[in-house]
Structures are given as C-alpha cells and as structure tokens.
Symmetry: C2
C-alpha cells in the first residue's frame, strides 16, 4: 500500500563508508535487513523506505561523530525514537543512516524544588512518569503512544493534557542539540523564562530532525495534584458536547483533560476495550486541584453539560475508574483501526479556533458518512484539535485514493476556518502541500533557514518540505 | 553619560534617499532634530544614537514599501513602539530610519468565543485591556510599562502575571511580519496549537526586530476571573519570603501574581507612592479563581507565609486596595530611580532556577551593600526572575563603571546557577557579552539565521550580537 508524497532520490553511499562507520561504532551499527526494515516503516499507511544502516547511539559524542562522518560523505541521517509518529516523520526516504536514540534512555537529573528534569532523548514518557511518581511529580504531555521525549520534542507533540498544561512547546526549557555542522549546542539554560537571543529551543521543537538532532531535553514538571477526578458524559448532539467545553473554558474552569469521541469511536472503544458506554458523542473529562476545587469544577461542568443536553454525568474519584477511562482513550487509535480485522490505519489531524470546532467536525462527519470506509473522530476538544482515524483494507488500493480526497477536504475546511493542517502530528511526508496552502510564503522563510543550517540537506531530507 | 556597547559604524545615506522616502510617505517622514532626538534615546543609561529620519507607518503596506526602499539603498531600519525598552533595544546605533509603529493602533478583531484577538503592533496593553473589559476578557502580560504589543512581542516581554499566564512566548498565536526581503508573511493561523513546520512565531518573538518587523499580532486572551484577591506580607528574612513562594508553587497553588520587593525597594515605594508599608522584604500577591477557590488559596498561602516567618498577611477583596498595590508596584522603577533627585536609571534583570533564587538575591544584595550607589531589588519571584535598579548620579561617570562591574558579577552569578542573563529585558546593546557567556556556540547558530534572513544586516543592526 502506497502513501503519496513528494519523490526524493535515494543517495548512494560512497564506497567504504559503512566500513568507516563500523570502525567507529562496532556492534552498534546494523546493516541486516530485519533491522533496516524495522526502521524503514511507520505505524501509518506510508510505503516503507529503508535506511542503508541503523546506528544505535549511546551518547551525544556518538551523535557528533556520526554527523561528522556523514557530513564528509554527504550521507543523510534520520533520527529515530519509538517509531510512533504517524506522518512518516522518521522514514529515511533518501536512504542513509537511521539514528536510533532509544538506547539514550538515562534520566540525568531531577530537580524537585525547581519542578524540572533533564533526560536523554530516548527516555519514554511512561518511564519518566514512573520515575517521578514517588517524588510527587509528573510530566503532563501525553500523546497517547509511549513515545520518546526526543521524538515528542521533534514533532511538537501535545495530547490529552494540553488544554491545561500546554504542549512540548511550553514543556521544554532547554535542548542539547547536534547541528548539521557537528556542533554540540545547548539552546538555553534551566531558567523558566529568558529573553536572551533567538528562541532556538522553539525553533528546534517541531522541526522534525531537519535542523538538529536532539540528544537531551530539560523539561518542566508539575506536582501531582492533591485531588483528581474523572467524568464521562454522553450527548445527543455534537454541538451540545462542544458547547459544554467552550462554556467551561470561557468560565475559566481549569479542565485538565477533555476529550471528544464520536459515536463511531465509542463503538470501536466498546468493542476493543470490552466496555458498554452509550454509543453517542461522548466527552471524557479529568479535573485536577484541591479536593474542594475539584468538587467545585465537577459540579460546575456537570451543570453546564446538563444545560447542553448531556446525559448522566458519571464522575468518579476512584483511580481504577480513571485508569479504565484513559486506557480506553489511549487505545482508541488501535480500536478504530481494528473496526475491520487486518486493516491498516491512517490517522490525520487538524486544529481550528474552538468556535468553529462543532461546524468543522459536523461537516467532516458528513463527508465520512458518504464513504463506506470505517472512520472515527476523536479529539482534544479544549484545543480545537481533532483526529480522524480510517480503517483501510490493505487489499483495496482505491480506498487510499478515497481517503486522500477526504483528508484534502478536511485540511481545506480547517484552513478556511483559520485553523491549521495539523495540531500535533507534524508535516512529515503527508502534509507538505497542506503546509504551503496554510502558510504560503512563510514556507520560503523556513526553507531559507533550513538551507542556512543544513546546506547539504543531510538532516532528515524530504520532510516538512522539499528544497 | 555613556553606556558601553560594541562599536558599530553609522552608515551614510545615499544621495536623494530621503527625497525618495518623502515622495512616498509625505508628512509621515520626519527629519527634524527634535523628532530624531526623541527616537534616538532610551529610558535607560545608554548614550543617544540618532536616526537619520523617523517614519510613522499607518499600515503593513507602508512597512513593506519602506523595507523595499531601504533594501535597495542599504539603509538600516529600527522599529520603534513606545520607547520603553531598557537595554537600548530600539536605539538606531547605525543610523538609518526609526520606524515608528505607534500609529498602527487599531484593534482589528476580538473573538470572545475563541478567547483571542488580533491587533496592530502599535496597540498598547492598557488600551487593549480597556477595550476588552466590557467583554469580560483580559490580556494578562504586564511588563509594568504601557508598552506596545509589537514591542512586547519583539523583546519577549513578560512581567507580573507570567507565573500563571506565561510570557509573550505563550501569549502570541500568530504574527504578521515584514521580512528583510520585503515579504509580508503570517507565521501561523488562529488555532491554539499547531505542528505545522518551523515555529516562525517563536523565532520572531524576542528577535528584537533583527529578523522581521511585526505589524500585527494575534493574542490569546483570558476571561476576567470571577474573584480576585490581593495580599501583602512582609518577612524578616529574604529566604522566608522566597521559600513561601517555592512551597506554594510546589503545592500547585495557581498564584496569579507574586512579586518580591526588598527593603530598599519598599523604602522607595513608600516615598514615591506615599505609603507606609514596613520597610522589609515584602511579597505582593494576587489570586484569581472562583470565590471559594480564591478564599482557599489565600488561606493556604497565609499559612505557608506564617510558617516561614511572615508578618501580618494583609489580604483584601477590594478593587481599590488592589489598584493601590499594583500602582505602587508599577511605579517601582521610577520610585527606585528617584531615590536620588535628578538621577538616571539603570535596570538589569536575570532569571535563575527558583531553588537558587534566595541565594542569588542574597549574594547580589551583599554586592549592592558594598556600593554607595542606591539600588533596589524587585522581581517576579514565581519565575525566578528579578531586577536590580540603580539610581545613578549623571555627573559622576565613575558610577557607571561601578555598576558595570556589579552587573557583570550579577550575570556571572546567574549563569553559574544555570540561569539566564536576562529574564525579560532582552539583549539589546547591554547584554551581548553575557549572551555569549550564556549560550556559547549557539550564538553562532543565531548569527547564521540572521545572515540567511537579513544578509545585508539592515534590520536593527548591532543588536543581540554583531556580525
């Protein structure tokens, strides 16, 4: 099954190049087919693109040496974390080296008094939260998948907690980055804010490995709230659900999480996670605060939901209820893909001003209903961000073309509403035309920056845009 | 009185250039000495640097035309807002045109449901909040001075509310920017988050007009909280005050504002604003939330303050008490400068991890006490950010050298604590050596970006770094 993206030529390796790498990295350089295949495919619908070799880095020094060797030989490098991105962001479409950072998984420093920590890029978010729990701290960014922190920074990930705690853009204080000319730089210090020069931290976040390779990340943390409650509420209408969230946010209720799942997604969740929720548009909530504050939030949102046609507002203080709820939410992608046995997933996302969200979802739903391909809608409604997940028959290539059309209409709809073509997946291979539709000449400014920092186009070539 | 900064040559204007500008801009081009002098000085201690002319823009089209004319003639452009920056950020040290954007003061659009608005760059923050009040909305970033929104974006301003609401980095959704090659671009859309390509918004924020001229800004807004309380509490010890804030933040108490003022600053405030606070290290607080939530916050912080040696915790729900408090805080800079009649001000700031704040302030205070120059400390203690304001005798040039030494030691102290040389003032002219001490080779990456986007160094040359 093929995903369409701009063609880019594979670059041949110079003679003896892999021998040079082997001499430097020994057993950590892999050229076997199985390993190349594993790093040459994505979780989504894109055609595989194999690297020439895979290198497992253990340190920033490894990365500097790889970059230096590849610069001389003009060989591309594509950073690889957990492989959970879904716009083909880590596919080595021009060949070269897949730089696997998953072994750089040390938590280097936690400063509880400062509510921050520094980790290597390969640390995964669940591992980090496990480590922090006993200190009463947590790292809130949660894109669903158990991604690496470096990968999350590279794609500007966000997820279910962003409405309260922000995205990777807000969560990162400092990055250690290896640049295309082999420099090992730090983009900032550990202060919570700074006005010192250009914001290289934010320039690197979301650049998908095209400007630098992130090897260490300093993150803001939060205290685990004294009280946490969750709630579920089904709605007769989509607009009732969205209006509930808009009104709660306007009242300044500090929702920690609020997720929308449409009727199809609820059906998929019920089937996959063996649950029995009503198969209607549903909101999943989480509330953080003091016990009295959380109780007040629950009561206020319950009232707003009821006024907007919500059914029973089922809330709970019990951790087991909460775990079940968020486990179901986290598995929503797999639940959706598996609406058809043996199907392949295609996930897309857009983000619009929240006043347009109900209309954007409703129009999208009509478009989905006109197709026979099973598809679900779920989203981070507090941010105006939602996903569509398609369950594609791998033996029916015409479905791919149909989804391309639906996706193009979805992006056009979001842009017409002054929204963005991707809230949190990134551009990767799949949204390059959409990026130009969205930002026009600003993309030329991006290209100018890319050319200045990576003149030979060796860092993840072919992603975000072509040169 | 001279402030020391890297020398930069004034560039001569080509013959007939001002006539060309006059032909295009008519009466909006000013060449009279008085106007040039007004745009050639700063609020702080820097030596004046006069522009060759001042142009008052009325539209983005004006800015595009000016940029195009200046590009051909290789004449520098320095954007100018309210003139309230304090590191010489808007001084035209290489001559050229001071581009005054204060007349671009239209509030273009407010979207109450989306909690955002779009304004021209010359809108001032007090004007915006005046406009928003009846809609129940506010814009929280408050650097003290009644700065323009464009200037605040350019210097990555923050201020008293940053601990709760973030800085300009978090507040801006989208910028309209004229680039050095005369393009009129938008850096983003109105969605609350996006993963679409490089974060040009954040690259422009804090770039001090060296990469682009901001002409329009889309901002996140917040609902005016249902309840607001303020409080004042004096402490016997500096560490008692700082520990109070650290503990409150660790408990997740969502302080809206928390400011520290040392004994000297309290003396200055009492004198200037005719108040009678105890002349001890003092915290000013503000709490936002529901009535019950604010009461809970006040009670919790009151207890923490008392456990840390705080005196009476004087809190109030009355708007007039709150106004008096924040008026005194906003006038703190002028109060400090006027500790000596006829004095000139020099303000500096650093930001450190909050666990180091008490030590950083205490060491700084010892350094100040060894000098005869009156100086105060005040800061945004929740962020780890504090200011030192010196009251300099304009007829005693040796004081300037003495303050340079104190400032250099302050920066070195902050960097040794993994902090930054400026939390919110920017680099401008005054902190260029400090920036290199702080970020080393990363500054070369900044220079590479500057050269790529502005190869002739026409946009605010000589600021942040020299090429």
């Amino acid at each position: 099954m093929a995903g369409s993206f701009p063609p880019i030529a594979r670059r041949p390796l110079p003679d003896g190049f892999l021998d040079d790498l082997k001499a430097r990295f020994g057993e950590r350089l892999h050229t076997a087919d199985a390993m190349r295949r594993q790093h040459g495919q994505s979780e989504a619908h894109f055609e595989p693109a194999l690297p020439d070799a895979v290198m497992f880095a253990r340190s920033t020094e490894d990365v500097v040496d790889l970059v230096t060797l590849c610069a001389v030989a003009e060989v591309p490098i594509v950073p690889y974390g957990a492989g959970t991105s879904i716009e083909g962001n880590a596919l080595p479409v021009a060949g070269g080296i897949s730089l696997d950072l998953s072994g750089m998984d040390a938590i280097l420093e936690v400063n509880p008094e400062d509510l921050d920590c520094t980790v290597q890029a390969g640390v995964r978010r669940e591992q980090l939260n496990e480590h922090l729990r006993d200190m009463g701290l947590f790292f809130p960014i949660d894109p669903g998948a158990n991604a690496t922190i470096g990968g999350m920074a590279s794609t500007r990930a966000s997820g279910t907690n962003a409405v309260r705690y922000g995205t990777m853009r807000e969560a990162v204080l400092n990055l250690r980055v290896v640049t295309p000319d082999g420099r090992d730089i730090r983009t900032a210090r550990r202060a919570r804010k700074s006005a010192a020069g250009y914001d290289l931290t934010r320039l690197m976040i979301g650049s998908e490995g095209t400007l630098g390779i992130i090897t260490e990340v300093t993150l803001r943390l939060h205290g685990i709230p004294e009280a946490i409650s969750s709630a579920v509420c089904a709605f007769e209408t989509l607009s009732g659900a969205v209006d509930t969230v808009v009104q709660a946010i306007q009242l300044g209720i500090p929702l920690a999480r609020v997720e929308i799942l449409d009727d199809m997604q609820m059906r998929a969740v019920n089937r996959w996670s063996k649950l029995d929720y009503p198969e209607l548009t549903t909101l999943f909530f989480e509330f953080h605060g003091s016990p009295a504050g959380v109780a007040e939030q629950v009561a206020a949102v319950g009232e707003i939901a009821s006024a907007n046609g919500g059914g029973a507002f089922r809330w709970s203080n019990l951790p087991e209820d909460r775990s079940r709820l968020w486990k179901a939410r986290h598995e929503a992608y797999y639940a959706a893909v598996n609406l058809r046995p043996g199907a392949v997933g295609w996930a897309t996302d857009v983000c619009v001003p929240i006043s347009r969200l109900a209309a954007c979802i409703a129009e999208t739903k009509r478009d989905l209903q006109a197709s026979a391909i099973p598809a679900t809608i779920l989203g981070h409604v507090g941010d105006g961000n939602f996903h569509v997940v398609f369950s594609l028959d791998p033996n029916a290539p015409e479905e791919m073309a149909e989804v391309e059309g639906i996706n193009a209409r979805l992006v056009a709809r979001a842009l017409a509403m002054d929204g963005t073509c991707t809230g949190e997946h990134g551009i990767g291979l799949g949204k390059q035309a959409a990026l130009i539709d969205e930002l026009g000449e600003a993309v030329d400014i991006m290209r100018t920056i890319k050319r200045a920092l990576d003149p030979r186009d060796l860092f993840n070539p072919g992603k975000i845009f072509t040169l």
